[in-house]
């Protein structure tokens, strides 16, 4: 009797759980009435939601037989992981590389991202971007991620405080940059601050390209052993450690370089306590509430040059959109991606201050109305963009390795004085050696 009751109860619970699981399955159906459903899942970041709803509406108008279901989530990886576990997949996902959850990277490593080479070939995308590792993630000539927007990400500052005829001159070389730092120090200001250490990603890209060119940047991003023992590698670490030394770094930076208080570091630039910080164009809207209208205007400085005759660089940030390999409706998903690069899509993106990396994006920006987008993109007039994707390696063989902890979080330790620049460089060198010894198996990358 007892056994029977246990069995019945277990069956009952099992059944009800299965029933719960099933009920949501109806939503994954490919068609709804006569329309095909296109599930577009977006990460709710700094770009706002308006642009995506506008894109979806315009796409629906152009494709009346498609019903675009836009979903915008702040905790997108959690939501998607949960759904993937029950076999549900989105048709289009907008989630960037380099996020703490590593969701996009994990999907790429598990081959859960659809090959979109045909899409990239069909659209008018800037060649440098199309051929970059961001798009061709595995380096096998096939495209997987589409950069939906690009934006320069250098050092942000107050043009009312720094610039021609202002309190401080605008530096063009690192030497001048440090001079400005010394001047600022005398006035009780700091030269530099950073919101959190993770914001060094674009600075690193530009610095690496500046120090050793595109090849060196590629080598570093793709875990070539010994890169940190080269003169170029040492030069990059020297600059980073000088930036975060007590001479130049805003005193409270480290204490506030966390997810709760980073905004106070950004405020320090607005308040004039620090002059420069690495950031992106979203800073304008992010800090709008606490930015005074008078006496403050955002400016974007490309990285200072190594010397007067050398080229200048600025990090270029892209955001990526992709199609899951198990998407129910890959055909319309591809059309949606193409639509973003169409005349209409680019125009909608531009209305919301987003620049799609088409082959003529600089001309398009030049034709835009005056404003921050145009001003920020003007840095490309005298600086070369630097962008790169982190190379693949065998994550499962090195579960204790966390790139962002080693590369970025240690900058906090460097700033706090618990490690020296040389220890930092050495730990990078050790990490690179270890990762270089664990490449992804050849067949897995295909």
């Amino acid at each position: 009797m007892k056994k029977f009751a246990v069995l019945m109860l277990t069956l009952f619970v099992a059944f009800s759980l299965v029933a719960c699981g099933n009920s949501s399955e109806d939503e994954t159906g490919k068609t709804e009435g006569e329309q095909r459903v296109l599930k577009v899942d977006l990460f709710s970041g700094g770009n706002g939601e308006a642009v995506f709803t506008a894109l979806a509406e315009a796409f629906e108008e152009a494709h009346p037989d498609v019903d675009v279901q836009v979903r915008i989530e702040k905790e997108l990886p959690d939501v998607l992981n949960r759904e993937n576990a029950t076999g549900q997949y989105s048709d289009v996902v907008y989630y960037n590389l380099g996020q703490p959850s590593q969701y996009t990277e994990t999907q790429l490593l598990n081959h859960e991202v659809l090959d979109i080479t045909d899409v990239v070939e069909a659209i008018d995308i800037d060649e440098d971007y199309a051929n970059s590792r961001i798009v061709q993630y595995y380096g096998d000539g096939k495209a997987y991620l589409l950069p939906l927007k690009t934006t320069p990400a250098g050092f942000f500052y107050n043009t009312e405080l720094v610039g021609e005829g202002k309190e401080y001159p605008l530096p063009t070389t690192w030497e001048e940059f440090w001079e400005v730092g010394d001047m600022a120090k005398e006035d009780g200001r700091a030269l530099f601050t950073y919101p959190t250490a993770g914001y060094f990603d674009n600075t690193y890209n530009a610095l690496l390209k500046q120090a050793g060119g595109e090849d060196f940047l590629f080598d570093v991003m793709n875990w070539k052993e010994g890169v940190w023992d080269t003169d170029e590698g040492k030069q990059v670490i020297d600059i980073i450690s000088k930036l975060v030394s007590s001479d130049y770094l805003y005193e409270s930076t480290v204490a506030q370089a966390n997810n709760t208080d980073f905004i106070r570091n950004q405020q320090a630039v607005i308040d004039g306590d620090a002059l420069f910080m690495p950031n992106g164009d979203w800073i304008v809207s992010e800090m709008a509430d606490t930015t005074p209208e008078e006496g403050f205007h955002w400016g974007l400085l490309p990285l200072p040059a190594m010397d007067e005759n050398s080229e200048r660089y600025v990090g270029s940030m892209t955001e990526q959109i992709w199609i899951p390999a198990q998407a129910a409706n890959p055909d319309d998903a591809k059309e949606f991606l193409k639509f973003i690069f169409s005349e209409e899509g680019v125009a909608i993106m531009a209305e919301n201050g987003n620049v799609v990396p088409t082959s003529d994006y600089m001309e398009r920006v030049a034709a835009m109305e005056d404003g921050y987008t145009k001003e920020f993109f003007s840095v490309y007039e005298d600086a070369t963009p630097a962008f790169a994707a982190v190379g693949v390696y065998d994550v499962s063989a090195l579960p204790d390795f966390d790139r962002s902890a080693v590369v970025y979080d240690q900058i906090n330790d460097l700033a706090a004085g618990t490690i020296t620049a040389d220890e930092y460089r050495q730990s990078l060198a050790d990490a690179w050696a270890e990762v270089a010894a664990h490449p992804v198996e050849a067949e897995a990358a295909e």
Binding site: T106, A255, T260, D261, D409
Partner: protein
């Protein structure tokens, strides 16, 4: 059907829902955690490859993990010692001494406990803020500028800043628990003691402490569990493990949900075992004859 049989069916029927829920949501997931710890798996959908003890071997040489365990031990020891001492002290003062407004104090001490840890983290972010934080501003106000600190930026004190916040958060809860035990001690014991000439301090050590001993033992287990859990949430909201403040659960979370699910579960398994052993050990060493009144 005999009466006995009917009764056992009834008892079984009453217990079954709880047992099933515990099995589905506690026992099964725990077994899953231990099982997954032996696999290489990137997230809970991905394919899994059996890896034997690989995850555990890696953990033993993972400096971040070792550092997080060190922090956990530091937190458990210091938070337990400080919170317990203060909670017992306040509980004694509020129950044994006639203090005006003792009920008000009881409420005030308990308030932090009803606040969510998110609110606590927000409050301490305002308290510890370097330039205009409450603490540094207060120190300047009373002329102690020299004591101003980067409370969450100085690696030498950051762990203690976190401990202070967690102690503040926990005191009220344990104080109320000790108070309830203390009020049940018969007054005549204290009367007899004072007639014999025992001082208040002596009364505390000879009467109060031995009689609430069982209660203290129970709370010790709570301390271990809650410190491990709350420090995770607090760290997640403040430093996120930078500047050597990593805690095991925060590390587990950041690993398991960043493409290394199997490894994260191995961390979870170890933390489970450690907290289990720690509680058992504490229970064993604090064992003594129970005094009854």
């Amino acid at each position: 059907m005999t009466k006995k049989k009917a009764k056992s069916i009834f008892v079984f029927g009453c217990l079954a829902p709880a047992v099933i829920l515990v099995c589905v949501f506690m026992v099964y997931p725990t077994i899953e955690v231990f099982r997954t710890a032996f696999f290489q798996k990137s997230n809970f959908v991905a394919e899994e490859t059996f890896a034997g003890l690989f995850n555990f071997q890696t953990l033993l040489k993972d400096t971040t993990f070792i550092e997080s365990i060190q922090n956990m031990i530091l937190y458990v020891v210091l938070i337990t010692l400080i919170t317990m001492t203060l909670a017992i002290l306040f509980a004694t003062l509020l129950t044994r001494e006639k203090i005006k407004g003792s009920n008000l104090f009881r409420v005030i001490f308990y308030i932090p406990n009803i606040l969510s840890i998110v609110v606590v983290a927000g409050m301490f972010s305002a308290i510890y803020a370097p330039t205009n934080g409450i603490l540094n501003t207060f120190l300047s106000m009373i002329g102690l500028d020299g004591l101003r600190q980067q409370w969450l930026g100085n690696p030498d004190i950051i762990n203690y800043s976190i401990i202070a916040a967690l102690v503040w958060q926990a005191i009220g809860y344990y104080m109320v628990m000790y108070m309830s035990a203390m009020t049940s001690i018969p007054e005549n014991l204290y009367e007899a003691a004072s007639l014999e000439g025992a001082s208040r301090v002596k009364q505390f050590f000879m009467i109060t402490l031995p009689l609430i001993w069982n209660n203290i033992r129970t709370t010790l287990t709570f301390f271990v569990i809650s410190t491990i859990n709350l420090s995770f949430m607090f760290i997640q909201l403040t430093t996120d493990g930078s500047l050597a403040t990593e805690t095991p659960l925060n590390y587990m979370y950041n690993t398991a949900f960043a493409g290394k699910y199997g490894y994260g579960m191995a961390i979870g398994a170890i933390v489970f075992i450690i907290s289990f052993l720690l509680s058992a050990l504490i229970n064993k060493v604090t064992e003594r004859d129970t005094y009854e009144f």
